[in-house]
Amino acid sequence: MFLIFVLFYTILLPGILLAGKNIPDIDNPVRITNDILFMFPTIWTFIGYIGNWLAFFLLGYLGVVMVTTEYQNKTFRQSIMSGISRADYLRAKLIFAAGISLIATFYMILCGLIIGFLNTDVVIASKLWAHAAMFPRFWLMCFGYMSFGMLVGFLIKRTALSLMLYLGYIAMIEPILRWGFHRKFFSNESMHFYPINSIEELVQPPYGNIISDFAEKEGFSFYITYTQSVILAILYIGIFIFLMKRRVNKSDL
């Protein structure tokens, strides 16, 4: 199971990016080639964005499943009976999630470097590392998705239902809460301060800055700043972990 995820991530991350080679060049109104996908510095924005989607699907899924299978196989129960403390059990899971996020981040960097080097005519160091600040944010984003997945797993305990809630919340519930309800009352920046949104916005889509400048001219902020998203993500991950801790300590196994 785990191997399948690793395989998917390993192949899809560079794969989707390289599939961009098939995008035809646009000549009108401005000449845009698909080179931007593969050259420093812009490659980082693209590979980061693909990573964002993959982390949401694959890593979050992994976060859910690594918790729920231990409920379904009752191995969580057995481990506690064998003598591990509930705190140590949770700690081990969180460290694992942090480690996987780290590996995912390194792999993303590796892919970016390799593809970038192969496709950039002249590599200028400043351009290469222009987006380096994205790297730790990428790790935080991966960890954020995983810890949300883990929290859902601890709350629901059953694999299928947990996955549905994980996907459902991210894809539907939170967007509805934000765009549907929150905006009715507070049509301002605070609608972006929701947990999953903060995590998503750690790595913004390519040309996010252009889009947000455009939106701001209309008096509407589309994205939040990186500083805001980092602070919020850390805050929300902290809340997730707190809830996980409480759930693990209180529940019957």
Binding site: Q78, S79, L253
Partner: protein, 298 residues
């Protein structure tokens, strides 16, 4: 003292699964937990193993000598079902348990040998039959050489040979001075192995004590003669008799255990009746159990 339980209770909404249970288990006891299905045996064991959170009450292992997590490392458990990682081999699963218990010399092969699974140690757990899973669970309970073993239906799913083997293992472990807590429905196994029992029904402790003390107050004597009615009239006057029943041309007498069968014979002879059948049976644990759980209902 190995385990002391103090007014332990567990409430699930309206259902009181365990009601103010108090009990003490000393070192070296082989303690049987008996009760009908749903009586709260597994819930009680779950609470003292930190799987289920008590609603109220306390318990203490080893007179508080160890921290709870440390204490559990010294208890080998088999609760309800054998729980292992399906995609890992038996040996690997046992290694995980050894790691959790911080055991330096796990002796995994030795334990697998004891339960007869050494030849399948590298097979994945999901390929195991029910009997093999049960035996692996017993092996897992033995990892780390724990001072106490807690078994919930250890012979579940085993063939007669397996049941006998488990009985031997438990006896072996008990002989080495360890304490055993066993929940079981198989009363004659409990009778054979256990030194003490607790009888639980609907969350309440109905009786507790040595197996001997729970059984011995009454015995059953079967008698018969050609004229059952006359025989019945003869015995009816005996004060030590608590009950006479007629069954299949026999009279079943419930009488205090130390009343000698020969006295019955003499009494009958003196009244001119010759017995054709005389058989004294100590009351079995099963009969006692059924009686206790039938009469004491909320």
């Amino acid at each position: 003292m190995v385990l002391s339980i103090n007014n332990l209770s567990k409430q699930y909404g309206h259902l009181k699964a365990v009601d103010q249970l108090s009990l003490t288990i000393e070192k070296g006891m082989i303690f049987g937990f008996l009760g009908p299905n749903g009586s709260g045996k597994t819930t009680t064991l779950g609470m003292v193993l930190d799987i289920i959170r008590p609603t109220s009450g306390t318990y203490e292992w080893f007179a508080g000598k160890y921290e709870p997590d440390e204490a559990r490392k010294r208890i080998g458990t088999l609760l309800e079902t054998p729980n292992f990682f399906p995609y890992m081999s038996a040996a690997d699963n046992l290694k995980i348990i050894a790691h959790i218990r911080k055991v330096s010399k796990p002796g995994i092969e030795e334990h697998l040998e004891t339960v007869g699974l050494l030849s399948r140690k590298d097979s994945k757990f999901k390929t195991y039959s029910l009997g093999m899973k049960q035996r692996l669970a017993i092996a897992a309970a033995l990892v780390g050489d724990p001072e106490v073993l807690v078994f919930d239906e250890p012979t579940n799913g085993l063939d007669p040979q397996g049941i006998a083997e488990v009985r031997d293992i438990i006896q072996q472990v008990a002989d080495s001075g360890k304490s055993i807590i066993m929940a079981s429905h198989i009363l004659n196994e409990v009778e054979k192995i256990c030194s003490h029992v607790a009888i639980i029904k609907q969350g309440n402790l109905l009786a507790t004590g040595t197996v001997g003390s729970i059984i011995s107050d009454e015995a059953t004597i079967e008698v018969s003669a050609d004229n059952l009615e006359a025989l019945r009239r003869v015995f009816e006057g005996i004060p030590e008799l608590s009950n006479i029943e007629t069954k299949d041309k026999l009279l079943i007498l419930s009488i205090t255990a130390d009343f000698p069968a020969s006295s019955l014979n003499k009494i009958a002879m003196d009244k001119g009746i010759v017995l054709s059948h005389l058989n004294k049976k100590s009351k079995s644990l099963e009969a006692e159990f059924l009686e206790i759980t039938a009469t004491k209902t909320n």
